[in-house]
Structures are given as C-alpha cells and as structure tokens.
Amino acid sequence: MIRRTLQFIPVFFGATFLIFAMVFALPGDPIRALAGERPQSESVNQALRAEYNLDDPLIVQYGKYIGGVLQGDFGTDFRGRDVNEIMKDRIPRTAKLALLAFGFEIVLGLSAGVLAGLRQKGFADSLVLITTLTVISIPIFVLGYMAQIYLGLELGWFPVAGIQQGWKSYLLPAMVLGSVSLAYVARLTRASLAENLRADYVRTATAKGLSRRRVVGVHTLRNSMIPVITYLGVDLGALMGGAIVTESVFNIPGLGGLVFDSIVRQEGTVVVGVTTFLVIIYMLTNLMVDLLYAVLDPRIRYD
C-alpha cells in the first residue's frame, strides 16, 4: 500500500513536468505571443519575464510553479488574473457533466453487461455486443451532433445546448460523454462475468448445493466486478479530461472550453493550470482504484 502510494509521487512530478514543458519549453515566446501582432515595449516584456520566471532554466520555473500548485495555487495568467478564480466557476460544470455521465455508465453499463454475460450467445448478448461496438465506433463528436439533432431538435426531449436549463441541460451531453465508457463497461462486465462463470470455484459453489442466484450473485459477481470497478475508477478521471469534445459540441462552458479558449488566446499558464488540475484528478482516481483493488482482491498486496 505504502509503496504504491510512493510510486505515485514520481509519476505525479513526471506528468506535471511533461505538461509544463510542453507548454513552456516548446517553440514560441509566450510573452511575445501574448502581445500578438501589437508592438510591446521592452520594459513591459522584461517585467513580465521576471514575473513568470521565464529567464530561469525550465526546471526552476517548473519547481516554482509546482510548489505553488502543491499549496493549491495554480498561478496567474499573463493578464494578472488568478487561475484558481478562472477555474472556480468551471470546475463544477465539468464535474457535474462527468458525474452524471459516470452514473449512466454504471447503471446502464453494468446492467447490460450482466444481462449479456448471463445469457451468452442469446439474443440479449448479441444485441449488447452489437450496440456497444457500434457506439464505440462512432466518434463522440458525431454522436454528439446526432443526439443534438434527433433527441434534442427533432424529438425535443432534451435542451439542445448551453446550460440555461439547470441540470436538465446536462442530461444529453452526459449521455453522450458516458456512452463510450458505458459500452466498455458493458463489454468488460460481460467478458469478466462469462470468464468467471467458467471458473472452477463456480463449479464448486454449484456442487455445494447453492442456488443459482447465490452462485452468480455472490460467488461470481464479486470476482467479476474486480476489473470492472478498476475500469470505472480510472474512467471517472478520464471523463473529466475527455469532456472537452462534448463540452465543445454542446457549448458547455466547462474546463474543456477553458483549455480551448486559453490555447487560442495563448494563455500558457491557464492551459498548464487546467491541464495539471485534470491530470491530478485523473491520477488521484487511479491511485484510489489501485488501493481499492487490494481491498477487493485479497490476492493483491502492495508491499
């Protein structure tokens, strides 16, 4: 357990450094980019360079930045605005979207997977396999547009875009965002359940004279859920990061949109801030899953 947590530390610094380096070390002068086509005085340039430690070696810049992040400070943008402030309104929107998608994923994905896994090669199984494969194959922006046109406009079941209608506005985008993960969860549950149903210990449980319901519900399901829960945990973080496309299709002003606007405006610190934040969330859910994994499966010990 402790070793696992310690392993997290180099990965944390490595990943955040990579992002930092990508944005700041690669070609282009952020200060000049900030100015755009407008001329800017040398003294302003100097001041800004000092402000953002741009004359330090990259690793020192990173050290100063990540020191702030560890204290919960994601820095300021080149216009002097607090990145924390900029993100504050947007985090709950992306989180709402991701959590709602996560809910769809668990409820529908698990039920479909269990249904298909129990009736292998039956109708429900084929239906689930084909539907999930189709959903996985349609890129999310295509799916998003289709949902918008058919479920939003034609049928009028859902608000089409924006967030003016409160939580209702999030329903359709969340379904779209969660759809691919939902399909994975269904397939993973099905495969895992099917594999475990063939396991020797299931035969033992049957030989013990247990009811089918107990054999499946207690003996098989617990084992089958181990990989599924692992996936679910990893996916919660990934949904936050993956919301970019959905947010742009449905015009939701969340973190994804912020990354985009900041890239267009060349606001390096905001891009790094948001990306670092999302990576931290992603890594934390990963770590939590690893630890949960050891609880679920007594064979695993991180020592």
Binding site: D200, Y201, R203, T204, K208, G209, L210
Partner: protein, 341 residues
C-alpha cells in the same frame, strides 16, 4: 471382500444400493460435433465402501462424476440416456431445487485443484461456513465456529487462526484439506473425490488419502475415488472400475485386479508403472494416444492400441460380461478367456 469397513445401520439398512449409476451417457455439443464423453457406465457404491474409477484423462471419469453431482454445464453438456439412483430415486428426474438440496447435503464432491476450486476472494472459514448458513440457516457466528471445528477435524493445525485465511495463503495440502472439510461439512452419505491428490506433492498425497480413509471409517460414507493413479487406487479402494473412451472396460475387486488383469488396457496400465515386486521388468507404456472422443474407433475403442487386436475387435463392440472363471469380475474384451487363463 467388497465391504471392508463396518457399515453403520442407517446407511446400509435397505437392500437398495446407496448410489447406483445405470447405463449413463453424457455428451457435449461442440462446433466440431458431439463429444461422447461417457458411453454407457454402470456401477454401485454402498456405505463404507470405496469405489475407484480409473482412467486416463479423457476417459470420461470426471464427466461421470459431474453428471452424478448434476453440475454439468448444459449447454453444451447433455445426458441422453441413463439413471443416477440415489437410494433408489433417479436424480436425473428430480426437479432442480430438490436436486440442489441433495448436492452438498447427501452427495458432496472434492475437486482436483483446490487453488482454483476455492473462491479466491472469500476466506476459507466463510466458504466452509456457507454450507451451514445456506443449508442449515445457521448464524454467521455459529457457522464460523463450525468451520473451525471442521478444520480441526481435517487436521489443520491452528484452525482458529487460519479460519480467516484466504486460499492463496495456505499450502496445497492445507487447501485440499479445506476442500474436504467443506465437502464433509453436512455429513454426506456419498463423497466423490475427483483426483483429490493429483495437484499435490507425493508426501502430501499420502496424508490426504489417509485423511479420506479415516473420515470414511468415522462416518461410513460411500467414497467414489476418481483417479488415473494406480498407486492411489491400490491403497484405499475396495473395487475398481476401469474406464476407456467413456466406456467401462473392466470391473474387479482391487486385489484381483492387481493380481491378474483381465483386459489388455488394464494390463497395459499395470505394465506402465514400476512395481517393487518385479524389479527387473522393463516398463512398457501403452502405445499410441487416447482416442478422440469426437471419433471413437468402431468396435472395441481400444483396438488401435491393443497388442492383441484381431479383426473382430475392429467391428464388434465388446459388451461388459462376467468371465466364466471368476463371477466377481467382468471385462469388456472379446478374448479375455483366451488371453488370461
């Protein structure tokens, strides 16, 4: 000769055998065709008696055990023909829930590899205790206490400490003891042990066989021992059924089988193991490989590997019959009298 242990009254009370298998057939439907795993099997076991079912892998011996237990996956498995009579009742005709009550309660089973046969995510006490909780409606606490008692009985030292251990934390021998404890939890009348020692070290094998014999002596249950190991058979069995390609080829009391096999296949098995009383003899394995159950050879299934095979063996399937010279024994060889007299 057939019954060596004293038999408690309750089990041997009636004339009906404790467990009788009559003309059992089991098949599996696969993409490549129907696999005929068991093709007409007959045997009886009484209380206190140990019947060994001997055969190579693919001989149908384990499938037979699963059919008796009623744990064959269906589909693809199916039982086109046959009866499994427990105290005179055909289990194959019972409704599912009655069948289920017999499993574990009356007929229990020990599997080959306890590491995979035990559920990896529950501790062993929970798994043993489940028998009491589910069949007897016992409380969790009482069931765990019973589990400790049973673990003690099957010779697990420090049972109270190990009751919360997980299967992977125990040694192979300990795990097999757990399997046995689970199987005998509800005092079954018949215990089927499917290769109970194959996955274990030689020294541990002997301990497990001793334990099974000891438990049988205590409880008077009938024991069906499924194995490919003649050594195991020699030690504990009263009678032996030798199986080949899903059919029985020879039946005999244990001593007589060893003294004088009456089927070329049994003879081949005997010659393929070293025996201390025949130091100078060369080991002589059976030629060829066991048949493909999708395409069992016509006539006597053993004929392609039989050193004595004649034309008749290729066309006519030999029935199991009593040999004139010895009424206790039967064989499925056309030429038993000529070969072994």
């Amino acid at each position: 000769m057939t019954v060596t242990e004293p038999v408690p009254e309750t089990i041997a009370a009636s004339d009906v055998p404790l467990l009788e298998v009559v003309d059992l057939h089991v098949g599996f439907r696969t993409d490549a065709g129907t696999v005929n795993a068991v093709n007409g099997l007959n045997y009886k076991v009484d209380g206190g008696e140990t019947l060994a079912i001997l055969g190579e892998s693919g001989s149908g011996k384990s499938v037979n055990a699963q059919a008796v237990m009623g744990i064959i996956d269906s589909p693809p498995g199916f039982i086109p023909k046959g009866e499994v009579l427990y105290r005179g009742t055909d289990l194959l005709k019972l409704p599912d829930d009655e069948r289920r009550r017999i499993r574990g309660n009356e007929i229990a089973m020990v599997f080959q590899d306890a590491l995979t046969a035990l559920n990896p995510v529950f501790n062993v006490g929970w798994q043993i205790g489940e028998m009491f909780r589910q069949h007897k409606g016992m409380s969790k606490k009482k069931a765990t206490a019973k589990a400790v008692e049973l673990m003690d009985r099957v010779g697990i030292p420090g049972a109270a400490d190990r009751v919360h251990a997980y299967p992977h934390e125990l040694s192979g021998g300990m795990r097999q003891r757990i399997m046995i404890a689970m199987a005998i939890a509800l005092d079954p009348d018949v215990l089927i042990a499917d290769e109970p020692t194959t996955a274990l070290d030689v020294t541990v094998q002997a301990q497990i066989m001793d334990l099974l014999a000891e438990l049988q002596a205590d409880t008077g249950m009938g024991l069906i021992l499924i194995t490919h190991d003649l050594g195991v058979v020699a030690e504990v069995a009263d009678r032996v059924v030798v199986m080949y390609a899903g059919r029985e080829v020879e039946k005999a009391p244990i001593d007589e089988l060893f003294a004088a096999p009456r089927h070329p296949y049994t003879e081949g098995l005997m010659q393929s193991i070293p025996r201390p009383d025949q130091v100078t003899r060369r080991l002589d394995p059976i030629r060829g490989a066991p048949p493909d159950l999708l395409r069992i050879p016509p006539g006597c299934a053993f004929h392609p590997r039989c050193p004595y095979a004649k034309d008749r063996c290729r066309t006519e399937t030999p029935a199991l019959r009593t040999i004139s010279t010895d009424p206790l024994r039967s064989t499925a060889c056309h030429f038993a009298e000529e070969l072994y007299s």
